[in-house]
């Protein structure tokens, strides 16, 4: 019954219907993005197509849910509040989003102070923009927070493990690059969905929706799309590493994922002379990752399908 998470290819007809008809494709950008997130130098085309499909499906579903919620509210546009509301269950991801909003505000504040033209522009438009995103998020969470957990997030200074792992992976990846490769890597890292806002909107087919997202909501959606891709790459790398069984090592499953990866790649390339292809993430890794992510693990797992309102497990929230 867990239809949605099983295979993204066979999921909701809406996605396949859209994917055949749509002319907008982020395949090229996604290829660079996956490279910057930890995939091989040239990710496989099939993998990229699959990832695009997964992300697209998930975002469409997310948008639909957000639209339902804003309808409940009686609003005319999907705003950031709806998206924040959808994310309320997963505190870590919510915290990452809030941190992202905060960094965005901070960066615009600094860059504005450097360029005098920017400074004037800002003064002219009324300098109420400082920290507006973060304050807004804080106000909203204040309003829906019943138990005080969400607000506690703002003061919380725990290390974000997922982000930490990503940083370590990137650091390791870049250590062995020369400066030309590194320049290319940096350029790939700068790609994001928010830079191509109009293409992103078309890709999601926002114009055909009755309730459209506003600007801030689009920003958050672009961020969530990027997060989804990042999560997919993270999980696929884990899956790939799991698939390689090291005979005779009973604790291989318990060692940190990043460490094992490093170890494996060094060994495999040296010993087996494997072709470059095997470094790239295969579509089977992605499918397995999505399947595992959707599966509920725990004592009640056989009975949990009844709990889910809608079967899709969002990677981003």
């Amino acid at each position: 019954m867990n239809n949605t998470a099983a295979s993204p290819m066979s999921t909701a007809t809406s996605s396949s219907g859209r994917s055949t008809g749509k002319s907008v494709s982020f395949a090229a950008e996604l290829q660079s993005m996956m490279f910057s997130l930890g995939d091989a130098r040239r990710p496989l085309h099939e993998t990229v197509v699959l990832v695009e499909d997964v992300v697209h499906t998930q975002l469409i579903n997310l948008l639909q849910q957000a639209a339902e919620i804003s309808q409940l509210r009686g609003a005319r546009v999907i705003s950031a509040e709806d998206l924040l509301f959808l994310m309320r269950k997963d505190k870590k991801k919510l915290r990452r989003l809030i941190k992202y909003l905060f960094i965005r505000d901070y960066k615009s504040k600094i860059v504005k102070g450097i360029d005098e033209d920017d400074l004037l522009e800002d003064k002219l438009s009324g300098s109420s923009n400082t920290n507006k995103r973060q304050k807004f998020a804080q106000d909203f969470l204040n309003s829906i927070d019943q138990t005080g957990e969400l607000l506690a997030m703002f003061e919380d200074d725990e290390i974000d493990e997922v982000k930490q792992e990503r940083m370590e992976r990137a650091e390791r990846q870049t250590r062995i690059m020369d400066s030309a490769q590194y320049a290319e890597f940096c350029e790939s890292r700068q790609l994001s969905f928010s830079k191509k806002a109009s293409k992103f909107r078309d890709w999601l087919d926002c114009s055909s929706m009755e309730i459209k997202p506003n600007v801030v909501a689009m920003e958050i959606l672009a961020y969530l799309a990027y997060e989804t891709v990042a999560q997919l790459v993270d999980l696929a790398l884990l899956v790939r590493q799991d698939m390689v069984t090291k005979a005779g090592d009973p604790f291989s499953h318990a060692i940190s994922a990043t460490f094992i990866q490093y170890h494996n790649s060094a060994e495999s390339t040296a010993a087996c002379g494997v072709e470059a292809h095997s470094d790239a993430i295969q579509p089977c890794h992605i499918r397995e990752a999505v399947r595992r992510y959707g599966r509920k693990i725990g004592p009640l797992s056989p009975f949990t399908s009844a709990y889910r309102r809608n079967g899709m497990a969002f990677l981003a929230c």
């Binding site: 910057s36 992202y100 960094i103 965005r104 901070y106 960066k107 600094i110 860059v111 102070g113 450097i114 360029d115 005098e116 400074l119 004037l120 003064k123 002219l124 940083m167 370590e168 990137a170 650091e171 990846q173 870049t174 250590r175 020369d178 400066s179 590194y182 320049a183 940096c186 890292r189 700068q190 790609l191 994001s192 928010s194 830079k195 990027y226």
Partner: protein
């Protein structure tokens, strides 16, 4: 002008602050004012003096000066800032300001300062100053182009008018003294020879009188005023190239200058414009709010490594902004570090903070040098 009573010439300038009196309004002291006039009478007019636009003296300059703390003028001038509030701007002679109306007076002021330095007991420091203008082209750091430009700016004028070191009357040096450190500061080039260049200075000053923005906008050149959009007059001058926001409360923000003295000079010019329009403008609480500097370390930097090891200070989101944002705690400066090796430093209230921040970050960046 009243002729000065016979008075022993007072040694005024003890330290060599080689720049035009662009700082505070004139001494409140009557004596010193007439003393000035005495000199002005005595001096000949210099025709083609080119006023220096930026401080010749900066911490980067490697020469020693020692202000004489026992000089009564020093103590007098250190109180100048506080006394400013009691002074009346309109009665003060702004002839020191190098704008087109008072060219001759300004030249005389320069000559006067030259005379003062001849009386200066610290001839030594002046002579050490002498080789500097010529040697300045090979000055500290290869990037100090703006500094050497300012020096070359001064050369034509200085060669003629100022034989000894271009010392300025110390009554105008106190604001600079308050800005720059009193101890001689060796240039940053100990480690690398790279000196951050100042790119932008934001300062504020209080003109201390209510202003009629409409009148200002109508009568002043290069002024924009759109009350529906923003409640201030935006005025621009070409020399130093700056922009000012003038509010009806009398407060003013001046941006775009490339050095502290330029910022002050520009703010003074704006104040003069306002004054000439009939408002009793004063010049209170001039304060530098922000300074931005930039430089290039000339090697690629591996930002992923930096963000990992300095997590608590840095944030790097390349999809958001291509540079790493590093928040240094001491001094409290924000640095934007880019892969190409360019570094932008902002948030400083003093020039020394920028230099110090760069000195702190340079060894760290070297550690993450990319090939």
């Amino acid at each position: 002008m009243p002729s000065a009573p016979s008075r022993a010439p007072r040694p005024l300038a003890y330290w060599v602050i080689p720049q035009l009196p662009t700082a505070d309004p004139l001494p409140m002291d009557e004596e010193t004012e007439t003393y000035l006039e005495l000199y002005l009478d005595q001096c000949a007019v210099q025709d083609d003096f080119v006023p220096p636009r930026s401080p010749l003296f900066s911490p980067v300059v490697p020469y020693v000066y020692t202000p004489n703390p026992s000089n009564p003028e020093t103590t007098f001038n250190s109180h100048l800032e506080s006394k400013e509030t009691s002074g009346n701007f309109s009665s003060v002679d702004l002839s020191f300001l190098p704008d087109e109306l008072t060219q001759e007076n300004k030249d005389q002021a320069v000559i006067r300062s030259k005379h003062e330095t001849e009386e200066n007991s610290e001839t030594q420091s002046q002579q050490s100053r002498l080789p500097l203008p010529s040697g300045q082209d090979v000055g500290p750091g290869s990037d100090s182009s703006s500094l050497s430009n300012s020096r070359s700016h001064l050369h034509p004028g200085d060669a003629n008018s100022i034989q000894s070191a271009p010392a300025k009357p110390n009554c105008n040096s106190s604001p600079l003294a308050s800005i720059t450190p009193m101890t001689p500061m060796t240039p940053v080039s100990e480690c690398c020879g790279i000196v951050p260049q100042l790119q932008n200075i934001v300062s504020t000053v209080n003109l201390a009188c209510k202003l009629d923005l409409k009148k200002i906008a109508l009568h002043a050149k290069n002024a924009e005023y759109n009350p529906k959009r923003f409640a201030a007059v935006i005025m621009r001058i070409r020399e130093p190239r700056t922009t000012a926001l003038i509010f009806s409360s009398g407060k003013m923000v001046c941006t775009g200058a490339k050095s502290e003295e330029q910022s002050r000079l520009a703010a003074r010019k704006y104040a003069r414009v306002v004054q000439k329009l009939g408002f009793p403008a004063r010049f209170l609480d001039f304060k530098i709010q922000n300074m931005v500097g930039s430089c290039d370390v000339r090697f690629s930097i591996r930002l992923e490594g930096l963000v990992l090891t300095h997590q608590q200070f840095s944030s790097y989101e390349p999809e958001l902004f291509p540079g790493l944002i590093y928040r240094m705690v001491k001094p409290r400066i924000v640095l934007l570090i880019f892969v190409s090796g360019k570094v932008v430093l902002t948030g400083a209230k003093e020039r020394s903070e920028i230099y110090e921040a760069f000195e702190n970050i340079y060894p760290i960046l070297k550690g993450f040098r990319k090939a």
